[in-house]
């Protein structure tokens, strides 16, 4: 794989990496025919983020050495982020950025060609891995709202930067409401301030949702995409469904698209006096993995692996149409890891990627909630021990 980024796009790439770093600790790089895909997932598997840069984003783009299969790898987010640590400096000094992946070297080489003939070369070690793939389809979500990122940026402005979760819903008069979500704790003597922001429908480019619907998700993770979208002056769409089903945050322009898929709390009612907490009862399963996939129980892998044969031609993140028979549990209660409902296979379609409960488990701050069982999105390569 070899690609060359020039001019202002270097900063855009850097910003995307900053954005992804808000989510996970490992960056999955996958050169596709459609473009270069950068993906990550958080340690509790409740958030997935992906940027796809089209070939036109690059001055030169070669997904794979001809005759060879494209290499997929994962690298430490920290290492890749270090290359783009100071965006101000990147903007001022970097003229070109060349990223190459050579299986023989087992190094991902990121070379920054800067002003005055300065060349900075970063040799990052990587691990070959299978594709990190979350299965989701925005088209299947019942509700969508879309607004310029600036509007959403202004909407989250009143909330403290430390706020973990926020509830987004449609209030009376078709106003879009954002409200700070506080976990309920019986022993909490000092209650926290509750902040609510209400925006009129007219500020939205698209609002397809009924009054009363609401979802609760992690604000900190959302801010990752929001900051990127604001700087790129793009519109941001939020596709969501019933509480408990993941919400899809998407941005798109001619050269790139980004998707952040975040878990939502399963029992959340904007109008109820008390917002119930999610926490499905603990299942004695593997503890949330950080970097080590090796201990995963094979049965807990929730996402079928994508093989190259299954990649559909579209530029969008590959999605699957899952048959109506399959419904991940939306009601409160432990998310089942049992793969007991199999989507029916329709003849003529590619093998369905199984969309099981993609996300679950508490997205509450780890200090308060015990680790929940985690469906792992990505399978580590066979050889990992």
């Amino acid at each position: 794989m070899k690609c060359l980024v020039t001019g202002g796009n270097v900063k855009v790439l850097g910003k995307a990496v900053h954005s992804l770093s808000r989510i996970g600790d490992e960056l999955y790089l996958e050169p596709l025919e459609d473009g270069l895909s950068l993906r990550t997932v958080n340690s509790s598997r409740s958030a997935y983020a992906c940027f796809l840069f089209a070939p036109l984003f690059f001055q030169q783009y070669q997904a794979a050495t001809p005759g060879q299969e494209a290499l997929r790898c994962k690298i430490l987010m920290k290492s890749f982020l270090a290359v783009f640590r100071s965006l101000a400096m990147v903007e001022k000094t970097v003229e070109r950025c060349c990223i190459s992946l050579n299986g023989r070297n087992s190094r991902l080489v990121v070379q920054l060609h800067c002003r005055y003939g300065v060349r900075k070369t970063h040799n990052l070690s990587f691990q070959e891995c299978e594709s990190l793939q979350a299965v989701f389809d925005p088209a299947l979500c019942s509700h969508v709202l879309r607004a310029p990122a600036r509007v959403l940026g202004e909407a989250v402005q009143p909330f403290p930067p430390t706020l973990a979760e926020v509830t987004l819903g449609i209030g009376s008069g078709r106003r879009v409401i954002l409200r700070s979500y506080q976990e309920e704790e019986a022993d909490r003597t000092v209650k926290a301030m509750v902040t609510e922001m209400s925006i009129g429908e007219e500020d939205f480019q698209q609002l397809q949702a009924q009054e009363g619907v609401a979802i609760t998700f992690c604000l900190k993770e959302f801010r990752g995409l929001l900051t990127f979208a604001e700087s790129a002056n793009l519109s941001l769409s939020i596709h969501f469904d019933v509480p408990g089903r993941p919400a899809i945050f998407a941005i798109k322009d001619s050269l790139l698209d980004g998707h952040f898929v975040l878990a939502t709390m399963s029992e959340s009612d904007l109008r109820s006096p008390e917002l119930h907490r999610l926490a499905p009862p603990l299942q004695a399963h593997s503890t949330p993995h950080l970097d080590d996939f090796a201990n995963d129980d094979i049965d807990s892998y929730m996402i079928a692996m994508e093989t190259t044969a299954d990649i559909e031609g579209s530029r969008a993140v590959p999605s699957v149409s899952f048959s109506p028979g399959h419904q991940p549990p939306a009601s409160p209660g432990p998310y089942s890891e049992d793969n007991d409902t199999e989507p029916s296979i329709e003849p003529g379609t590619p093998p369905p990627k199984k969309f099981r409960s993609l996300f679950f488990g508490s997205i509450l701050a780890p200090a308060h909630s015990p680790p929940g069982p985690s469906p792992v999105l990505a399978e580590d390569s066979e050889g990992e021990g």
Binding site: P158, K191, T195, E196, G200, E202
Partner: protein, 280 residues
Amino acid sequence: MKFRAKIVDTACLNHFTRVSNMIAKLAKTCTLRISPDKLNFILSDKVANGGVSMWCELEQENFFSEFQMEGVSAENNEIYLELTSENLSRALKTAQNARALKIKLTNKHFPCLTVSIELLSVSNSSRVVTHDIPIRVIPRKLWKDLQEPTVPDADVSIYLPVLKTMKSIVEKMKNISNHLIIEANLNGELNLKIETELVCVTTHFKDLGNPPSASEDASQARNPEQMAEVRIDIRRLLQFLAGQQVNPTKAVCNIMSNKIVHFDLLHEDVSLQYFIPAFS
């Protein structure tokens, strides 16, 4: 008990925000007293505060275009609420571009002071931000501890130097010692002193001026060169100085030798009194 108030003037709103920011720096938790004419932010001297107490007063009609309150009872037409000061200043921070701000006492699942802000926005759309600040209503039997402190006759009263200058000096002194002696005389001289085993550092301020004294006899009897001093916890002084973002309209320091130092400030029309006891 009822309370509703509204601010529509931008200057009043900014001033109220500045007051709230100052209170947030001076006291983590404080009491808000609402009466028909005034609002007070009160910190009563407790061991937990290190004996520090604060009394801040503002005339409600200087800020609010509408102000309605109904106290606990007809005879006790006041409301005492305890709140986390930072919540109020955070809530007001979002009111920078506000068309109007409303504050009212509500009970949304728990007693709150609800701050509701109508924002100006570029497009014609309206945006409304609401903050529910949790409060605790203070029962009447505890009101006696929250009254305006009586100021004993000071040994020396002196005008303070520029507070920002004082703050930067005290900040450096904090690294050397935990205690500071503040002393002043009726000749317009004020000293800040720290003493340790290894070093003594004194900063002298001169020609500060003394306010006219309340009782003629006391001032005439006292030798103008004689210093009245109090030894205080340096962090309390620093906290007080850090809270003053803007130099006040008037700043007086009253020293009761070896007992207490009393700062009496006026920020435009808001008065602030801050007491730091002698370190025992």
